[in-house]
């Protein structure tokens, strides 16, 4: 019988929740990496027992953790000592260094700072880890300050795909309230050289050649909070999702506006439709219905909680524009949590499960595609990310 494994990153550690296909009884383990911020945990599609976690701290910086047994045990790759006779022992763990080599990289460019001056790129943390669809040892990392890195040796060493940071619009990028982070990475299941990413507050970008060259893909986005609302870059994209069977159809939750593209981001159209508010962070697509989309509307950019204290997921079965509230099992009074950008996921069981975590420490599951919800856990630290694996 199929099982599911939910991977939750929180402000104070990672938690792993497992259940059988009924998704009723849950076994919870954690906190893993207790006391550290875990921005993201994700499993390899090529080897479900291979997990990667981004462990970070304002005191001690960035650590990448790897598990080869589904999260029972963990190691920091590269943490072992390499000894070369006559030389100091060395290791490469945790090292994210922007590529400024003349051969493969770009000069360490600058970006806009809060005061309008130019500011050098400084590595702060890994927001998102996206394992390769085919190779358990290959993983992409989205980092702050915004850049994309790749490992091909199971996270021992990381190398920047510097063409993104250096493609030309970088000096116009500026940090959002959460920092200038690359938080979304989408690998195309039909074209291994095509990758789309999103950056706050710069916008969406795509490579069609495996990461050497990149271009902005923001045509059709309109953001009233930037001088030119239709600018090529500067949009605060919160998250993008898509269905694997339609790799060129993207659904975006922007700062304000829910957007749709049917040409891999080359052109966007708004599909907010009848949502009560189109501000939000999380967005995802049903595992079996490419036109069924989920969002969690949040009141506004200055009030990061649900409208009227009612936690409602909205579902569109028409690819946007027409939305229905899903409330069964969710608190409908006095609820003032937020649902962050990477904190929603779907499983691929026959009856698609939908999951999301809140800043109040709840992780909710709907085993019936959103019709009804229950809390797997209620009192975790604020949830930063939720991923789910469907296991055989």
């Amino acid at each position: 019988m199929s099982r599911v494994r939910v991977l939750a990153g929180t402000r104070k550690g990672a938690f792993i929740m497992e259940a059988d296909g009924t998704r009723k009884k849950w076994k919870v383990s954690g906190p893993h990496f207790a006391g550290w911020e875990i921005y993201h945990v994700k499993g390899s599609p090529a080897d479900p027992n291979r997990l990667y976690a981004s462990q970070t701290s304002g005191w001690f910086g960035q650590v990448i953790q790897r598990s080869s047994d589904g999260g029972k045990t963990w190691e920091a790759p590269g943490g072992g000592v390499t000894v070369v006779p006559g030389e100091m022992p060395k290791g490469e763990s945790n090292k994210f260094v922007y590529d400024i080599s003349p051969e493969t990289g770009k000069p360490l460019t600058t970006h806009q700072w809060y005061d309008g001056t130019q500011h050098s790129w400084e590595f702060k943390r890994v927001w998102h880890l996206e394992p390769s669809l085919a190779d358990p040892d290959t993983v992409y990392a989205g980092v702050e300050d915004a850049a994309i890195f790749r490992t091909t040796d199971g996270a021992k060493t990381w190398h920047e795909l510097a063409g993104l940071r250096g493609h030309g619009t970088g000096p116009q990028w500026q940090p959002g309230a959460g920092g200038m982070c690359l938080h979304t990475i989408m690998l195309d299941p039909s074209d291994s050289k095509r990758i789309a990413v999103a950056i706050s507050a710069a916008g969406a970008f795509r490579t069609d050649d495996g990461g050497s060259t990149w271009k902005p893909i923001n045509r059709g986005l309109r953001s009233q909070y930037i001088p030119d609302p239709a600018a090529e870059t500067g949009h605060c994209v919160h998250h993008i999702a898509r269905h694997p069977s339609r790799p060129s159809t993207f659904f975006m939750q922007k700062h304000w506006d829910v957007m749709r593209s049917d040409d891999a981001g080359d052109n966007w159209a708004e599909v907010s439709g009848d949502l009560p508010t189109d501000f939000g962070f999380a967005i995802d697509v049903h595992a079996h219905e490419p036109e069924t989309v989920y969002v969690v509307p949040i009141k506004s950019d200055s009030e990061h909680y649900p409208l009227e204290g009612k936690l409602r997921v909205y579902r569109s079965r028409s690819g946007g524009n027409e939305w229905e509230p899903l409330t069964k099992g969710l608190p409908q009074r006095n609820c003032y949590v937020n649902v962050l950008r990477d904190a929603m996921a779907v499983d691929s069981l026959d009856s698609c499960g939908v999951y999301f975590g809140t800043t109040g420490g709840q992780v909710y599951v709907s085993p019936d595609a959103g019709d009804s919800w229950t809390a797997i856990v209620r009192n975790l630290p604020p949830v930063l990310s939720v991923e789910v694996q469907t296991l055989q």
Binding site: G58, V63, G79, G91, S93, N94
Partner: protein, 98 residues
């Protein structure tokens, strides 16, 4: 043998309990201790000093012999009591964050 005390999170990360004992070649300084520590435990690279710049991370402090040595030059000799192993070199996660 130089004695080094790590903050709890770094002890967990390096899989050590209690103090760490290190052999340090040459003058005993912040730099030589941290070089030896990171050579023994590469997982700690980047957690005390930034990669590349090797600057101390902002919320890390170095204490020994009831003195704050944080702002001493990295190559300044540490007190004899540390060099002789009578007192530990304390690596501290600063009290910050509320």
């Amino acid at each position: 043998m130089i004695r080094v005390t790590l903050p709890q999170h770094l002890r967990t990360l390096a899989h050590v309990e209690g103090e760490v004992g290190l052999d340090v070649d040459g003058p005993v300084t912040q730099r030589s201790i941290l070089d030896a520590l990171e050579a023994r435990y590469p997982t700690l690279r980047g957690t005390i000093r930034e990669h590349v710049t090797m600057k101390r991370r902002p919320f890390i402090r170095f204490f020994a012999c009831e003195e704050d040595l944080t702002h001493e030059a990295p190559d300044s000799p540490l007190p004899a009591a540390v060099a002789e192993g009578r007192e530990p070199f304390l690596i501290i996660g600063a009290i910050a964050g509320g």
